[in-house]
Symmetry: C3
Subunit: 173 residues, 3 copies
């Protein structure tokens, strides 16, 4: 049996999305890509295009930059959902100035009730020096709390470093 | 037997203080909270208050922003001391412009001689890009050296990521 | 038998160079230090001098800030080479405005063909908040991709935190 919820955690360009995609492919289930990214500038557009090209065919893409609940509620037990990523979702919430606590509670509740296997990708952002600006400090606090909540709910947590997975909760296989 | 000194290392908002507190509670000993934080602004005041509320009753709090030796020397074998945290202590030293090498030697010597079980919380700050300003670079070098010295002295070192512990030295239990 | 290529990964001041040096010393082979650092300012000069003093005698030093291939090609199976570090090398490439993809391909190809045991030190730089400036973001993306490529090629990957090694690929001993 596959774990219901897997959290894949890593730094920027750590290979976490690649690893999460390989988990989805190996599940053998119908694959849904739950995309949180918004192409608000050229740099982000380029990054999204690179990810789309890498994934290739075989994915149904659902875009949900802010409200993940409807997308998660629509999934079935025959599907595997790759949610990429919780960091972009959190960033979208902060830019939209929603209440983070309420948004997080809604996300976690929908994740817990989801019928599909879900793989959530998220970033580690708290291991540098204290950021100069208050918004960045607020973001890393919120990201840390979200990661803790996701890791608590998840059946499996995998940290990816230089493309290499390390199970922090549950087993890799 | 409990390890004499445990180092709990993690990023910002990684759940390291929660984990360290649970270690202290599970020791069954009389708990002393050795607080290094100074409430020099509203953001820090808010953070301190949140930590106090979470810990709840059952703790004796000792404030020691700069000189940890007297507090550590006063402890007995019936106590467990949670020192939260070495990063704030280092930051206080740098703001006070003390000699870091001398201050660190004094801290480590008092830690080594301490009769109580001690759990030291510290931050990982060296895994982001090189900071723009020289003081931040100096801080992350000093923090790295302090963490290495603490990990060398400690009987047990636990890294906390998204609330999940990983033993880097010694055993979790 | 020693692993042909070992990658030693860690944050700033994490003890990664110390650990890598101990691996080289314990190999019992003739030691070559492949230095990528350029002393372009006093801070870097100080850091280089500190590293030289720590290593002590018993090393042949080869300086190669940009083109690593000739140095790697000149090594034999009786030698162990400590390449310190891939992050400085990448930074040198970016300052020289070379094509990173081409430079990386040349480095990896020379590493793969090298007759000596090689220990490559590299930095984790992607675990802080998103940097403000585009060059820093570009750097951490490039560093992440380089680390993944090096980890893929390496027989052994060791992450160093507070001086403590954790094998992410292969075995410590």
């Amino acid at each position: 049996m596959h774990p219901a919820v897997t959290l894949v955690l890593g730094g920027a360009a750590s290979g976490k999305s690649d690893f999460a995609e390989s988990l989805a492919v190996h599940s053998g289930k119908a694959r849904v890509y739950l995309a949180t990214a918004q192409a608000y500038d050229a740099e982000m557009r380029h990054k999204i295009d690179r990810h789309i090209a890498r994934r290739g065919a075989g994915w149904t893409t659902v875009e949900a930059p802010l409200d993940l609940a409807p997308a998660l509620q629509g999934l079935t037990g025959q599907q595997v959902c790759l949610l990429d990523c919780a960091t972009m979702w959190l960033s979208n919430q902060m830019m939209a100035e929603t209440d983070i606590g309420t948004a997080q509670a809604g996300f976690l509740s929908a994740l817990d009730a989801c019928q599909a296997q879900v793989i959530v990708v998220t970033n580690e952002v708290g291991q540098g020096v204290v950021p100069d600006n208050a918004l960045a400090r607020q973001f890393r606090e919120a990201q840390g709390r979200l990661n803790i909540a996701l890791a608590t709910l998840a059946d499996r947590v995998v940290q990816v470093t230089a493309g290499l997975p390390l199970a922090l909760k549950g087993k890799l296989q």
